[in-house]
Symmetry: C2
Subunit: 335 residues, 2 copies
DNA sequence: TTGAAAGCGCTAACAG
DNA sequence: CTGTTAGCGCTTTCAA
């Protein structure tokens, strides 16, 4: 079996209390004693059992990260920066993919609570508001990422989705597009992006129809499906604002299948600026989120909440950046 | 504070042993008693503390997954299937990105040991063989994924890298290519892929030069850099076999920058068949690994090792599949 | 400066 | 069928 604190104590000829003190750098001690203990630990290759430590009331040094799907490049890129920052601070991360599914949300939330994680980063939409509220009331730190807090009163980090939607749409409009569809997700950030989409129309005096607003779940398949649907209904727009890159890629795939040329026949804008946006040809025009900054910030905020035990309500809004690449085209010049 | 087993016992008017029994479905009990306890748990919203449970010798129901980089689509796709399978079996997954860096490997391995994870899935190359050996000797189940076990005597799951390299190269050769470069990684799987590359040359009676073998780390930047290097040295081949999609994409980027047409001037084959391979134009010819099967299998194997406490040495080899898309071209026909 | 002892929340004999 | 009790490995007073 693995050596315990008792083994070390015996090996060093001291009490477990003394060993505990050298582990935690607490209290004073004769240097010789400290050395004896250290050597004993070395000899036995001793590592404290974090389970036992956690049981005495200390932190578990683990946080939970809930994302819709870790295989979505946006979230895996985000997860990577979160992981790095967390480890810098001595925290491990348990990642759970919810698929935006209420059952899974509940299951994972409960599971992680039982594991006594020190806090949560929630980057997935949350249907079970009640569960979150209880969590919060129990004093567990929570930070929302890419998600509003739904009046929960917890900190949240996100990009200015409204602005992103507004700028993407405005760009399309000023490029001469008049029939612009939007493919959004069933999540709070999409609501704001749609709002931006609408306001852009309003401010340019261009009408839009509700039928041009599609809602789906993030995947290339669904993006393609939406385009096919538009085509079947004879409602093909001249431009599509997709609420994430995955959907935009799906649209591009669908377009190829239908023989629709991009950007000549159809302009496409994505959102997130994941690696995928750089691999398409032409490269995808998209709205970038500062993933690295956001990932670091969300960990810092959570850390602060964990350490101070105080529940702030800070809302951090990052500025999105429209990155113009090859999938959009100026209609006024073109036609 | 969170309710403990004592609170439930008091609430239900029974002893903690009884409560423990209903939690673990052990022993018999008068239905009425069980009901009383269940209701008490319900009322208090009781959840057992997994830390305490783990301390009594039970499993932590957590496994560690070491990958080079979770933001690499191949690994995030793999992580997703692992996560799903693990959760089906009641296990959580802690993912750590090692960047193939020995310091991080050590750090994470140690960290996860302290967290008393039930087992490890190692999908990252491992410089610290000693650490792994000690781990294994301590009885911790380990399964290698995408990596040989380096004589460690633990199970391993991978694709037949030799075959993948052989087929990719053979395809290029039979398409008429005579100057084929390979860009590999500093990992064990790449060694076999290179071996396949060499054997393909040998079996077709085509010579190859060692200078055509490049080694780097997985990223688009590095792939591009390799192509630029070849160009500078005046050693541009007519085809490149990249040992993963990320590198292949980098080559494509580099080619675009240099005005090299793909596949007309240069054929490119990747490896992994990640989502990236479908988003390039033309789509990337690549060698597919059955990620979903591998992910499930690796969890099943680990689970078996955890449950039986037996250390098998099973080697599972999946068959790679060459997927021909648009980045390769038949030279014989072309020229 | 060091150690004895009382928990932390739960499991698992062993009694009753 | 139910309860008592002794740990699991560590932290933390409180004495010595």
């Amino acid at each position: 079996m693995k050596p315990t604190i008792y083994d070390v104590a015996k090996e060093a000829g001291v009490s477990i209390a003394t060993v505990s003190k050298v582990i935690n750098h607490t209290g004073n001690m004769r240097p010789a004693t400290r050395l004896k203990v250290k050597q004993a630990m070395e000899r036995l290759n001793y590592r404290p059992n974090l389970m036992a430590t956690a049981l005495t009331g200390k932190a578990t040094k683990t946080i939970g990260l809930l994302v819709p799907d870790i295989s979505n490049p946006f979230f895996s890129e985000m997860a990577r920066t979160i992981e790095d920052r967390a480890h810098e601070a001595g925290l491990s991360v348990i990642i759970c993919s919810t698929d935006e599914n209420e059952q899974k949300e509940k299951k994972y939330l409960e599971l992680l609570q039982q594991k006594r994680v020190d806090g949560f980063i929630i980057a997935s939409s949350f249907h079970d508001r009640e569960g979150l509220k209880r969590l919060k009331e129990q004093g567990t730190p929570i930070v929302m990422l890419t998600q509003d807090d739904g009046g929960l009163g917890v900190p949240s980090i996100s990009v200015d989705d409204y602005k992103g939607g507004f700028e993407a749409t405005s760009y399309l409009i000023t490029s001469g597009h008049k029939r612009i569809a939007v493919i959004a997700e069933h999540v709070s950030s999409s609501r704001l992006r749609i709002y931006g989409y609408k306001e852009a129309h309003a401010s340019h005096g261009i009408p839009f129809v509700e039928e041009q607003i599609y809602k789906t779940t993030a995947s290339t398949e669904n993006g393609k499906f939406c385009l096919l649907t538009m085509h079947e209904k004879g409602l093909l727009p001249s431009a599509i604002f997709a609420c994430n890159d995955l959907i935009a890629i799906g649209v591009i795939h669908g377009a190829k299948e239908l023989g629709i040329r991009i950007p000549e026949d159809l302009s496409v804008i994505g959102f997130d600026n994941t690696i995928l946006a750089t691999t398409t040809v032409p490269a995808l025009t998209t709205v970038a989120q500062p993933v690295a900054d956001m990932g670091r910030k969300v960990v810092d905020l959570l850390l602060e909440a964990i350490e101070t035990k105080a529940l702030t309500n800070e809302k951090v809004l990052y500025t999105p950046e429209l990155i113009i690449r090859g999938t959009t085209k100026n209609e006024t010049i073109a036609t």
